[in-house]
Amino acid sequence: MDTRIKQIAIGIIAVLLLNGCAYDLDLKGFLGTSEAVNHRFQSSMEWTVLNQEYEITVDSTAYTFLVGGDSHVGTIINIEKMLQIAVAQGALAVSVAGDVTTGREEGLIRTDSLFRKYPEVAKFIIPGNHDLYFNAWERYFELFGPSVYTLRVISEEEADLFVFLDTGSGTVGLEQFTWLESLLEEESESYRNIIIITHLNFFRNRMTGSTNPLNEEVMTLLDLFAEHSIQLVIQGHDHKRYITEFGETTYLTLDALKDGVKNASYLELRINEENISTVFHEF
């Protein structure tokens, strides 16, 4: 019995050590992230007060918006292709729904340089769990700005609201949730479409180790989004596309943008007077 316990202990230690050797994993994150979501939310709100909320004015009520998730830079082949396509198509903006980088300094710098290379397209990104590894939040914030914010797309006739939520450490947190609740309460009637973009996917549609928000939180958000008839919730994290509906709301999980992944793709959102249509494009 003693021998068996020793073997199991050695096995567990070996797995932990091997994982520790995996360059892009930060095992201490199991115990806690360096900056909790409530702190990141506060920093984001302070940033917004100093820098103004995002707003884009468009001539037409029809436009396209490209969204990818989980680029894990690293390497930049797919994410750069998405940016090039956005420029070529005249897309309104590009978004990456979290896990933009691996949290490593070189990934953060490479992403920043890449974004600077394409100034003609607006980029809206949020952090995922990987972007917070290795105490990367402060650096992420310095380079890319807030993790929670809104984007208003305004034409003469209509306005759409994009809400970017930070679920990088497994929960929206009380302060962000309270903000979201009052935002939707006060403003949801004023927009043609409301689109939420966040990192963690809500549903367990397959066997996977990727972690969702806790069950009570999923229930609370489903309820809130159904109450305000949110049109679309775009999520990343699981690296495998999944589309489902609950009430008037479509929940869409993205494939990964990560280089070398077999099913790598991005999503093209086509928004017009009639509806929102979504098309996945594989690399």
Partner: protein, 246 residues
Amino acid sequence: MKYCRVYILLLFLGVTMNLSAQYFSLSMSSDLGKNQLAEGVFYRPSAMTSYGHGNYFASTGFQWTFSQADRQVFSAWQTSFGMLYMPKEYPFYFSLFSLINPYSDLSREVNVGFILSHQREHLLFRIGNASRIYALKKSAISSRGITPEASRRIVEYRNFTYQLLAYLNNKDKSWNLGAGISNIDNFRVQQETNPMLLLSAYTRIITGLSINLDFWYQGAGMLNLSADYFGYYGRIGIIWIPGLNK
């Protein structure tokens, strides 16, 4: 209110059935805690009854939630049926369960599944599977302007459930202290990737009457290696097994 009446009826049936049952128990508990979904503390009282006859048993229980979150006060109804299998000195329990969580005016959550439990001198294991349904209530479709064509449910078929508790004392001692990990509680099934940490203690005051104290910590995102605090709750409860004090 409707559910309170159902519960009183079940309780009455439970007491009368006790005349023929080999085993009957009543447990009542109160949870007090905090989480990231609302300001302030929440209070969740609950009550459960169990019956056993031969190697078969059944239980039902209800929970209410009082909090600042916009939730229904009646918050969960659990039922289970099962059987005991005792190949040697340590028992195995197999049970089928359902758990209904009438979350709000708009939506509810339903879990159905099975659990296999096994108890050793110092250990309690539980493993199983739960299928979860998130559903919009019929009444919401008309009253909230949701179109009848809208999708009304999402089903998650497979969710591994587990509990592992290690106790300080032998299970037959009159008091015990345990610690463990779990994604299931009496009225809650978390996703398999959201383990909760549990400290548990109980003491037998007299034969047939015990008090239990639990503390549950709910972390978020632990398996994403980017963990945050989600919430915690403490529980105090009593378990009464009438037949045992005679």
